[in-house]
């Protein structure tokens, strides 16, 4: 039985994942990594600073032609605005995740606060450092979805209805996008649109310290700073619902299979006791997902081992060359000694 060829050839266009901060993007990136050969998925940089804020130089670097993609890259993910597209091939497949903008900003706010607290434990974020302040300081951004998904040359500049229109237009052009609130459906949709086989990468980076309920004033501030984003999100939700409907009845089977595969209900995956074909199809697909996940892990490990072997081969070659060099140096030394002790018949060659 021969090793099957993977469905996607190497010529398949790369996937560029525009990761809007705090939209479960790390999890999605992990899923994408599982679906391409080892070493061909890359975190393509971040135009935002670790402690918040945006770095125009980083964006400029990102946007330089030829810098976006290295040979063999199949997935590039990063906190990148859509305007990086000048650095990628024409046929690159863009994907992104959106989240309820108020939720997103609150999550971002808490993440930044937590990071600041961790950096300087004695100096917790001052109570009066509000979302407004942080936006004022360009640590956080209002309408970040619109900023990142529109054609705005300067993502930190002012955003207008024009940018909202651009973002809506761009969203339609994307190969697929997901919604955090409908994460499982998003995975299935992205999976179907991008031809992904492994969807079970574990959820990443949940901000555990986030308070359960925010002060009404904080929520109100978050809402105030997202007027355009709220409109974009409403539009995206409608687009998403339509996209799911377009996938037909098979979509529901995939969704159930994903949940069964992730779940602990082994019966659902074994199909034991199921006497209707539908449950069996779901169980079978869930099993396929689990197997694909195991396969992704095995392949990643193989990739690591191959690299390790490459490193060892290099080191061995260098060490052997050195040994050989010393041997011949030693032989030369012995040869000189021998010539001194036993004078040759031939006149020495200069």
């Amino acid at each position: 039985v021969t090793e099957p060829r993977r469905k996607r050839g190497p010529s398949e266009p790369p996937i560029v994942f525009l990761h809007v901060p705090k939209t479960a993007g790390t999890t999605l990136h992990a899923v994408l990594v599982d679906n391409v050969p080892y070493g061909t998925a890359r975190s393509g940089g971040n135009v935002f600073r670790g402690r918040g804020g945006y770095d125009p130089q980083r964006l400029a670097r990102r946007r330089e032609l030829e810098r976006g993609l290295r040979a063999g890259d199949r997935v590039v993910s990063g906190h990148l605005p859509y305007t990086v597209k000048v650095a990628f091939p024409e046929d690159a497949r863009y994907v992104t995740m959106l989240r309820d903008p108020v939720d997103r900003l609150l999550s971002h706010y808490h993440a930044v606060s937590r990071r600041r607290r961790l950096k300087s434990p004695g100096d917790p974020l001052e109570p009066e450092t509000t979302i407004d302040d942080l936006i004022e300081q360009h640590v956080l951004f209002d309408n970040l979805h619109v900023r990142m998904l529109s054609d705005a040359e300067d993502p930190a500049g002012p955003v207008t209805e024009d940018h909202l229109r651009q973002a809506k237009h761009n969203l339609k052009e994307f190969t697929a996008f997901g919604l955090v609130d409908r994460f499982d459906e998003s995975l299935v949709l992205l999976g179907r649109r991008l031809g992904l086989r492994s969807l079970l990468a574990p959820s990443q980076r949940v901000n555990v310290e986030r308070p359960g309920v925010d002060e009404p004033a904080v929520v109100a501030a978050a809402r105030r700073h997202n007027e355009l984003d709220v409109k974009l999100y409403r539009y995206a939700s409608r687009l998403f619902a339509r996209a799911v409907a377009d996938e037909g009845p098979d979509f529901a089977l995939d969704l159930e299979a994903l949940r069964a595969a992730r779940g602990t209900d082994e019966l659902a995956v074994d199909g034991v006791g199921a006497d209707d074909l539908r449950s069996l199809v779901v169980a079978e697909r869930a099993r396929v997902l689990r197997r694909q996940q195991a396969l992704a892990h095995l392949r990643a490990r193989q990739g690591l081992l191959k690299r390790q072997i490459g490193g060892l081969e290099d080191a061995l070659a260098i060490a052997e060359a050195e040994l050989e060099r010393r041997r011949s140096a030693g032989a030369g030394e012995r040869g000189r000694l021998a010539r001194l002790l036993v004078p040759s018949e031939e006149p020495p060659v200069a």
């Binding site: 039985v1 021969t2 090793e3 099957p4 060829r5 993977r6 469905k7 992990a30 070493g39 975190s43 574990p202 959820s203 990443q204 980076r205 009845p249 098979d250 089977l253 199909g271 034991v272 199921a274 006497d275 074909l277 539908r278 069996l280 199809v281 079978e284 697909r285 099993r287 396929v288 197997r291 694909q292 195991a294 396969l295 892990h297 095995l298 392949r299 990643a300 490990r301 193989q302 690591l304 081992l305 191959k306 690299r307 390790q308 072997i309 490193g311 060892l312 081969e313 290099d314 080191a315 061995l316 260098i318 060490a319 052997e320 050195e322 040994l323 060099r325 010393r326 140096a329 030693g330």
Partner: protein, 428 residues
């Protein structure tokens, strides 16, 4: 429904002996390949002398079964269901039957092929062969009844014994339903993936429709008992299939598709006649079976890669020992073999090599390589650790490590490129 099983435990000698009564021209050699794969080779799967060619077949089987070697798992061949072989109490018999007309046609043309191979020609045709007992009458009844009387036709009493023996079989297969037969066998005996290729097929054989009506009549006439036996086996077979659950035929179809393609990506065309859900089920099962194969292959490859990494580490260790045996300058000896190589180089090459840059590059390269090896090793270890004890909190650590390994690799590559540059410059 228990469609698939994990690959069974290694087949030890305390497991029952399988006895495969291989009737001629019933895909027996194809099955032998499957058996050899499932039971690790020839010492476990014993092909017995052909009863129809050698008189000693009975004795060989009797003696082998009586003094059963521990490795023996399967006895098969053109043997009969002999009464007076001391079959073990827990022996599990199976056989594959075939439509008698089809079987006799196949048998005849197979004989003709052998004759041509030997440089001759069969001097008689199909009908004559049947009428002159060149091919035995009711061969399937003979095999399964355990009696092969010479010079006369099989009788009803033999048919009854053959039926009773079929009832003793754990599995009764049909050539006409070979894929389903293999699935039944796999489930009965815990085989993993009984993929097969057709073996030993007659090449010159015409189709049944092309055969002279008189010859067909002669076959039916001489195989009336086999016809009855075949119908009996068919009833049994259908009953066994029905017992596998309502979707067995779909599972058989999935197996057939995967088997037909090797494990190639499922390219089987959707069957337009079939209800969408049934089609979905077959597709998903095909994907699952293919993934099973891929998993097995990938696991095997990983084992090979591990072994290679180990061999390389040992070779490097040996070379380092030699390098240290003739030190050019005493140096602290790091434990890591790659780092040792790098230390040995940085203490020697830099002095010896006239091109200082190249020497430094060499040392840097070994150092970077050492770092890469160390990182990848740690990643592999952590991955395995996490596989044993999943811990979402450490997944991030793993990601970070993997990222560092990637940049270490990039550094090695940069240094290699730099070295090539230096060498080019030196050569110019």
């Amino acid at each position: 429904m228990s469609g698939r099983r994990a690959p069974g435990p290694p087949h030890g000698s305390d497991e029952p002996l399988l006895v495969f009564l291989h009737i001629q021209k019933t895909a027996g050699m194809t099955l032998r390949k499957v058996l050899l794969r499932e039971y690790d080779g020839r010492s476990a799967v014993k092909l017995m002398p052909n009863h129809f060619a050698k008189e000693s077949s009975f004795e060989a089987v009797r003696d082998l079964v009586a003094g059963r070697p521990p490795a023996l798992r399967v006895v098969h061949g053109h043997i009969l269901f002999w009464d007076d072989v001391p079959w073990p109490e827990d022996a599990r018999f199976f056989s594959v039957l075939r439509d008698p007309v089809e079987r006799v046609i196949s048998h005849h043309y197979w004989l003709a092929d052998r004759k041509i191979e030997a440089g001759g020609r069969l001097t008689y045709g199909l009908e004559e062969g049947v009428r002159t007992a060149m091919i035995r009458d009711n061969l399937q009844t003979r095999v399964l009844s355990g009696a092969d009387p010479a010079g006369r036709m099989a009788d009803r009493e033999m048919l009854e014994r053959a039926k009773a023996n079929l009832d003793r079989c754990a599995v009764v297969g049909l050539v006409e339903r070979f894929d389903a037969t293999l699935l039944l066998l796999a489930r009965a005996f815990g085989w993993s993936q009984p993929y097969y290729r057709r073996e030993n097929v007659s090449s010159t054989r015409p189709r049944r429709e092309e055969i002279d009506v008189a010859a067909i009549a002669a076959i039916e006439e001489h195989n009336a008992l086999d016809r009855e036996l075949y119908e009996y086996a068919r009833t049994r077979f259908e009953r066994d299939c029905a017992a596998q659950g309502p979707f067995f035929e779909l599972e058989v179809d999935a197996f057939r598709r995967v088997n037909a393609n090797g494990a190639a990506a499922p390219s089987a065309k959707a069957d337009p006649e079939r209800a969408p859900l049934e089609e979905r089920f077959v597709e998903a099962r095909v994907e699952a079976l293919v993934a099973d194969e891929q998993l097995a292959t990938a696991a095997h490859e990983r084992t090979l890669l591990r072994a290679r990494a180990t061999r390389l580490t040992q070779a490097l260790e040996r070379t380092n020992t030699k390098l240290e045996a003739k030190p050019q300058r005493s140096a602290r000896v790091p434990a890591d073999p790659v780092r040792r190589a790098s230390t040995a180089l940085s203490t020697s090459s830099r002095r010896e090599e006239p091109d200082e840059l190249l020497a430094r590059n060499e040392a840097d390269r070994v150092h970077a390589t050492s770092r890469l090896v160390e990182l990848t090793q740690r990643v592999v270890e952590l991955e395995e650790e996490l596989e044993r004890n999943p811990d979402p909190a450490r997944e991030e650590e793993l990601l970070a490590l993997a990222e560092r390994a990637v940049s270490a690799r990039a550094r090695v590559e940069r240094l290699e490129a730099r070295r090539a540059e230096l060498l080019d410059a030196g050569g110019a």
